[in-house]
């Protein structure tokens, strides 16, 4: 028995594969946060006045707030004055016009990451808005999308070229007063992705952003805003990696989704930020606010996330089910290994009649990892006929990891139906041996068993990303078995 967990340990303790650093000349603002820094960021980005005003309101509000400490995560205090809030690869103040303008060093970084940035690879159907530190360096397939009236660009471009859309929707789902990290983001966000799908248009390809934190001591604060107008459909994928560093880095992003009548947004995340080393040194603090608004009737928003990275993950992609008959879904795989901590889950807020939500959460803990599911299902008085189904499964590898489940349920309408199921299981030494006795290596056996555990979530991912996610799980678990 004892030997089994030793094997598991080795398999789990694999090295982080995306840990390289690209030496680039960075154009950064001085360390720390003040109104001056915010004005500087806004000026560098040549933003219109409404944007600067909004940032400053957020900053002033942030000064009145304090860091939340209710999650089951632990970290040393973060010195917010020791963070560089803006860093752009030099010479790209305005963003490059084409791939040819992009620093070749940068392109090589993407190559190592396996980001399909080149147009020819994009023919496979992925349009990438790549965010390198704070400025979006390349947006591809924009022209093709533009012919359909789809806007897909960096947030900065959107502020410049589509200020009306930005002004109408920005902060309409996650107001700048929302929470400590979202408010901080509202004050200092540097870039991100923007997407607008006009009425009746089905976006013909998966849209994708690949985030990567590169520069040292740079907190990355990106902001994503996706609007699906009446009857529109879009599937969006976000992937993230960050290089290895000893110190911890803060990542406080905000994602807002708006689905209007009959529209559907599928948002998938594969998050592989640097998790820290085996001793728990370094790694990304991933404090993210993601929320979707099913603003009108018959709309649908589904979140699918595969979270294998970050030292600390703190995120609750949520859906406000405002429109009648609207549907919210949350499918999640969260893996914690070594000393990683994840406190993740969702909130489903039922306001409209006959609104439905489904929550499927799969937590995997290995090493000393700690994994908490925290979910809120709220059914307002107005939400007659609302239904929720929650299933929450935890899988433990080894005996030093932990899994917690915190379901919160508030039902104000008697016609609502809310179901919750939960299970915790340990990866079986018998399952491992069974696979091994069929010639399958211990490592492959673990990833086979784990991917079986995650299957229902992977089914929700676009095909090519399901494959990637499966590989990522395998990689993240490697070394836990010898």
């Amino acid at each position: 028995m004892g030997k089994g967990s030793v094997q598991l340990d080795e398999l789990i303790s694999q090295e982080y594969r995306h840990g390289f650093y690209t030496p680039l000349d960075a154009d950064a603002v001085p360390r720390g946060l003040s109104e001056d820094v915010i004005r500087l960021i806004s000026a560098k980005k040549q933003e219109p006045a409404f944007m600067l005003e909004w940032r400053l309101k957020a900053f002033r509000h942030w000064l009145t707030m304090s860091e939340p400490h209710w999650a089951t995560v632990h970290h040393p205090p973060i010195d917010y004055q020791d963070i560089v809030y803006y860093s752009a690869p030099r010479g790209k103040g305005d963003g490059p016009k084409s791939l040819a303008e992009v620093d070749p060093e940068l392109l090589r970084t993407y190559e190592k990451l396996g980001v399909p940035l080149q147009e020819r690879e994009l023919l496979a159907g992925v349009a990438v808005d790549a965010v390198f530190d704070s400025v979006s360096v390349a947006t591809t397939f924009k022209d093709k999308l533009a012919s359909l009236g789809i806007v897909f660009c960096s947030f900065s471009e959107a502020v410049r070229d589509h200020p009306d859309l930005v002004q109408e929707y920005l902060g309409s789902v996650v107001p700048y007063t929302d929470n400590f990290f979202a408010t901080l983001n509202s004050a200092v966000f540097s870039d991100g992705s923007f997407c607008y799908i006009p009425p009746g248009v089905r976006c013909p390809m998966e849209l994708s952003t690949y985030f990567r934190i590169n520069a040292k001591n740079t907190g990355q604060f990106e902001r994503t805003l996706i609007i699906a107008d009446r009857g529109a459909y879009v599937s969006y994928l976000e992937g993230c990696t960050a290089p290895m560093r000893d110190e911890n880095q803060l990542h406080a992003a905000v994602v807002e989704l708006i689905a209007r009548e009959g529209a559907e947004i599928k948002y998938s995340t594969v998050q592989n930020w640097y998790p820290g080393d085996k001793e728990g040194k370094g790694g990304i603090y991933n404090f993210v606010t993601k929320r979707g608004d099913c603003r009108e009737a018959n709309s649908k928003i589904s979140w699918t996330q595969v979270e294998t990275g970050s030292a600390i993950t703190w995120k609750y992609p949520s859906v406000i089910l405002r429109g009648d008959n609207s549907v919210g879904e949350f499918h999640s795989v969260a893996l914690t290994n070594h000393w990683q901590q994840a406190d993740t889950g969702t909130k489903m807020i039922h306001l409209g009649r006959n609104t439905r939500s489904t929550i499927l959460s799969k937590g995997i803990s290995a090493g000393h990892g700690s994994n908490a599911y925290r979910g809120l299902v709220k059914v307002a008085k107005s939400a007659a006929g609302a239904r929720n189904y929650t299933q929450c499964d935890s899988l433990l590898l080894g005996d030093r990891c932990a899994a917690h489940t915190f379901p919160y349920i508030e039902v104000k309408n008697p016609t609502a139906r809310v179901e919750h199921e939960a299970s915790t299981s340990r990866i079986g030494e018998d399952q491992l041996f069974y696979c091994q006795s069929r010639g399958i290596s211990a490592e492959d056996a673990v990833s086979l068993i784990v991917s079986g555990f995650c299957k229902e979530v992977f089914k929700q991912l676009p095909m090519e990303f399901a494959v990637e996610a499966q590989k990522l799980l395998g990689v993240s678990l490697e070394g836990s078995i010898g």
Binding site: G428, Y434, C435, S437, G439, I440, L448, G452
Partner: protein, 265 residues
């Protein structure tokens, strides 16, 4: 003069949780042979099967096991499997979410890689499996269900033999594959096993019942008692055991052990 044995077990002592289970077991199995191992509950038959397959937690304190001229105990379980050892489990394990066919394909391709052969693609693999499915009289839908999950007892056992048929091992150890099978299923399984008998392949059948041996005629029958092979014989021994039970064998084994302890042999 016979060629060297495929499997050679010498003076094998095994403890589980510090409890001695096997105590000086000797066994030799040659290519082409089928051996039956019988013995009372708890005598260590499954322990032997697991030790041969490399399950951890079974500590070999003495003795050696040679397989194809190599030290078997030095190999990891998956290496043993790739070298041709197959264990049909007494209690096949469920793996939720993993399609049966996926496990089979991963297993076969792991072996093929080990042998330096090209991996089979989905189409060739399916053709191969379908042929074996017919042999086992199994429903194709079982291929797409999660490994052993919700399978009936009989389906699980058939599934083990299906895996054996696909993986074509050199040495197959079948641990009570007949238990829990109805008469028809027993015949199907026996047919599957008989179809795989051959000069290059050896089999060890762990069973409690003569019934199986009516269909699969063994070359040798052994009784495991007191942690060792207490008695060996031809196919007739199984019939005698069916009539007389194990008590007399155990009594003899105890006598032998007492004698051995006294220095005699």
């Amino acid at each position: 003069m016979r060629e060297t044995a495929m499997l050679e077990i010498r003076n094998l002592h095994v403890t589980v949780d510090d409890k001695p289970i096997l105590r000086g077991l000797e066994l030799e199995v040659h290519a082409g042979e089928v051996h039956a191992i019988m013995g009372p509950n708890g005598s260590g038959k499954s322990t032997l099967a697991h030790v041969l397959a490399g399950r951890e937690g079974y500590v070999v304190t003495q003795g050696e096991v040679r397989y194809m001229g190599r030290d078997l105990l030095a190999l990891a379980p998956e290496e043993r499997a790739r070298e041709g050892i197959f264990l049909a489990f007494q209690y096949p394990v469920e793996i939720p979410g993993v399609a049966n066919i996926y496990l089979l394909k991963a297993a076969l391709n792991a072996m093929r890689r080990h042998r330096g052969e090209a991996e089979l693609d989905a189409v060739d693999f399916l053709a191969l499996v379908k042929g074996k499915l017919r042999l086992m009289d199994m429903d194709e839908t079982l291929l797409y269900r999660a490994v052993n999950e919700g399978f009936s007892g009989g389906e699980k056992k058939r599934n083990e033999i299906l895996q054996m048929a696909v993986l074509e091992p050199r040495l197959a150890i079948l641990d009570e594959t007949d238990s829990g099978l109805d008469i028809d299923a027993l015949k199907v399984v026996a047919n599957g096993v008989n179809a795989m008998r051959g000069r290059e392949r050896a089999m060890i059948l762990v069973t409690h019942y003569q019934r199986l041996l009516d269909y699969i005629r063994p070359d040798r029958v052994h009784v495991l008692a007191q942690g060792r092979i207490a008695l060996s014989g031809g196919p007739d021994l199984a019939q005698e055991l069916e009539r007389r039970g194990y008590a007399w064998v155990e009594a003899e084994a105890r006598g032998q052990q007492a004698g051995a302890a006294g220095g005699q042999r």
